[in-house]
Subunit: 138 residues, 2 copies
């Protein structure tokens, strides 16, 4: 049995964030001491580690809730969990695609202007003002 601070140290999740996860139902309320302080056990540690890992991978709180529900109900198929992970993968890929386009465009914009001259001639500002100068969609 350990305190919220200890749990925070072990999982690298900040204390207020742990309490936040409890309020939104991601973590079940743990036992309390006489003095009303939270005391966690191994199960609590494992669940928070799971959440942390999933958050690091960009899963939403909602998606994580679904995954936890699947953990807690082993009678349901694994397909649902795979679906969630696959959806997350598509999401990540879509973001990458969009960012790569932005990267190209920003590179062009940032390099077009060598930093000399006054803003009225600045390529950065001109490019932002006029979408037609862009080389691709975004």
């Amino acid at each position: 049995m350990f305190s919220i601070g200890e749990l925070s140290r072990r999982t690298k999740v900040k204390v207020p964030t742990i309490r936040y996860y409890e309020t939104v139902g991601l973590l079940t309320a743990p036992e309390r001491t006489e003095g009303n302080q939270r005391r966690y056990d191994q199960a609590g540690l494992e669940r928070l580690s799971f959440i942390k890992h999933a958050r690091d991978l960009g899963f939403s709180i909602e998606a994580i809730s679904s995954l936890i529900e699947l953990q807690d109900h082993p009678d349901r198929s694994c397909q649902a969990a795979t679906d969630i992970a696959t959806a997350q993968l598509s999401d990540v890929r879509a973001k990458i695609k969009k960012l790569r386009a932005l990267e190209k465009e920003l590179l062009r914009i940032a390099n077009g202007c060598d930093g000399d001259g006054v803003p009225e001639d600045c390529y950065v500002l001109a490019s932002l003002a006029n979408h037609d100068l862009c080389q691709q969609e975004h």
Copy 2:
């Protein structure tokens, strides 16, 4: 002179968002009709187009404010604008890098489990529970 709805249609920025930009100082308050409705001119359209384009490229409201200030004060050097664009480029690149690592990991996780079996054996859930299974940092 045209209404906020017309401006919205032309720029593809939603009406409440336009009003929001005004409250946070990105757009200067336009003229009003007798009946208190906003009326925009060409200058307003151009400024909003600039903002829209910059937002699409991921610039923050704050960064856009700085860029607009540079537009309005042509006596300042273009270097500042280039710096902002370059910072945005670094930001985008950092995000891409992180997402690519996530993509790899998610691909591994999502493919590890073929969807058969119950959650207690599910590779998705096992991978999320145990960070040690991961192939790289994230």
